[in-house]
């Protein structure tokens, strides 16, 4: 499903059918998820392409957050320790039309339900896309149409034991890579104190041959100031 396609692309499975087909001088994009909404859009294009790729999971049902929070079972990190582990994160699938180096999002959908949360207090915290993940020691097998795998490097820079049970990421900074078998991100979390940490994404795919996904906010021409995620309201 993922990749760059011409205007004859069609995909069908038990849960979804979507694609684009000619209708006279224009093209009709359609998408129907089993038991869900039906989407139809018209595209006027001659030499464009259709790009289907995983995108930042903060757009559905509507964009109310720019952060993603992953909760996991508590980890106790010894002073000055550094460890790498794997988490899963939800993905949304973006469909873009591309022509002459310009990108326009056509559709966004997902196969999994969304849940949002509040990180911090209501008068200073942030709304985030929330997900719970098991902590894995190696890359887990997941359905790439539903979940991606995040390689997270935890670095305890303090001189005390620290308990960590969640990580907050800035969605505008996500670097998602994909192949037919895997969707991935690589991130780091620098623990600055027992209650604060800084998170960032790296431009590193988890396997060779993976392609970089379109950053949805760049596709929407939204000016974005990218910065690292700051966790100021606790790590547990």
């Amino acid at each position: 499903m993922f990749g760059r396609h011409d205007y004859s692309f069609q995909y069908s499975s038990d849960s979804i059918s979507f694609g684009i087909e000619p209708d006279g001088d224009i093209y009709r994009y359609f998408r129907e998820i089993e038991g869900g909404e039906k989407v139809e859009k018209s595209v006027v294009s001659q030499r464009g392409k259709l790009v289907v790729c995983p995108i930042e999971p903060v757009n559905l049902p509507q964009n109310v957050a720019t952060y993603m929070e992953i909760d996991f079972d508590p980890l106790f990190l010894e002073p000055f320790s550094k460890t790498t582990l794997y988490l899963t994160f939800p993905i949304e699938i973006g469909v873009f039309v591309v022509a002459k180096k310009d990108i326009k999002p056509l559709d966004v959908f997902s196969f999994i339900p969304q849940k949002y949360s509040l990180y911090g207090p209501s008068n200073g915290g942030v709304i985030s896309r929330w997900v719970y993940s098991t902590v894995y020691a190696a890359i887990p097998e997941v359905n790439p149409l539903e979940y991606g795998v995040m390689q997270l490097t935890l670095h305890n820079t303090t001189r005390e034991w620290v308990e960590v049970a969640r990580a907050l990421f800035e969605a505008y900074s996500m670097k998602i890579y994909y192949s037919d078998e895997l969707v991935s991100m690589s991130a780091g979390m620098r623990i600055l104190s027992s209650k604060t940490a800084e998170t960032e994404f790296f431009k590193e795919p988890l396997a060779e041959g993976m392609k970089k996904a379109i950053e949805f906010y760049l596709g929407r021409d939204i000016p974005v100031v990218k910065h690292n995620g700051m966790m100021e309201w606790g790590l547990v």
Binding site: L60, P61, Q62, V64, A65, P113, Q114, K115, Y116, S117, L118, Y119, S122, N123, G125, V126, I127, W130
Partner: protein
């Protein structure tokens, strides 16, 4: 030397038989020209600096005010060169200032309130607010007034002084807010089961926040049924949509499990059994 002496003589030459010399006139022109250049430079730089910070209309008014203030200052500095005594003008100016001050005190008050509102930012453009008795979305915050579009689409201009002195409720200032429901069930229904059903409905909704988690509990044993309170946190920008969507979903989910919302009812006891005439029963039996 001769040229300088000639130039000095020329500058001292009285014009039109008055005490005003060529030198005085030249000095006046130079000061006025400098003040105009300074005013233009200031306005150009201020326009660049404030272009994205103040709305275009306000910026133009502010720039004009600054431009003419600098030019008038230039004139005031230059005037002693042509008028010997400015005291009369100053007195007149002072009186005029007092008159203008009294006449424009509400304008100045609104202007100062606007500056404080811009600095304090209790409301921002797009926010969902309640100012005094006016509720709606903030459309614009100008230097003298704030524009609110009420929920029924009516344009309301509120002077900034009133905004500043009013009690302001900003529904979008915080990123999340809580709202409550009271759901009644019949006494014969299982309240624990009802709470479980409601929690499942809330769990399935994306904008019922995971944290702070929703609270569902029996609040009251009411006259007509058991009252269950539901407290839900939601993103402030969508809380109203969530509120109007969820209540019906809860009602449908409860009824699907055989739990019903109670109607008001009264049990009436009579000291003796009621005797009903057989003829009175007929219409009811016939339906």
């Amino acid at each position: 030397m001769v040229i300088l002496e000639r130039l000095h003589e020329l500058l001292q030459t009285p014009l039109f038989g008055t005490s005003l010399s060529v030198g005085n006139l030249l000095w006046l022109v130079v000061i006025l020209a400098l003040s105009v250049i300074l005013a233009r430079l200031t306005v150009t730089n201020l326009r660049r600096a404030l272009e994205n910070k103040i709305s275009k209309n306000e910026l133009e008014i502010l720039l004009k005010l600054i431009y003419f203030t600098i030019v008038i200052l230039g004139v005031v500095i230059a005037l002693p060169n042509i008028i010997a005594d400015l005291s009369g003008l100053l007195v007149a100016g002072g009186i005029l200032g007092i008159i203008i001050g009294f006449a424009s005190q509400s304008v100045v008050s609104n202007f100062v309130s606007g500056l404080f509102l811009m600095a304090e930012q209790p409301v921002k453009i797009g926010d969902n607010v309640n100012v005094g008795s006016i509720s709606g979305n903030v459309e614009d915050i100008c230097i003298l007034s704030t524009t609110v579009r009420t929920y029924d689409g009516v344009f309301v201009r509120i002077p900034n002084e009133k905004v500043f002195n009013s009690e302001i409720t900003n529904y979008w200032a915080n990123v999340a807010r809580r709202f409550d429901y009271m759901v009644g069930i019949r006494y014969q229904d299982d309240a624990g089961k009802a709470i479980g059903i409601i929690k499942n409905v809330l769990k399935d909704h994306p904008f019922v926040l995971q944290k702070p988690s929703p609270t569902v509990f029996v609040e009251e044993l009411g006259d007509n049924g058991v009252n269950i309170t539901v407290k839900i946190w939601s993103p402030a920008r969508v809380w109203w949509d969530v509120k109007i969507e969820l209540l019906w979903k809860i009602k449908v989910a409860l009824e699907a499990e055989g739990i019903e919302i109670p109607f008001p009812q009264r049990t009436v006891w009579f000291p003796e059994p009621l005797k009903m005439d057989e003829r009175q029963k007929v219409p009811y039996e016939k339906g």
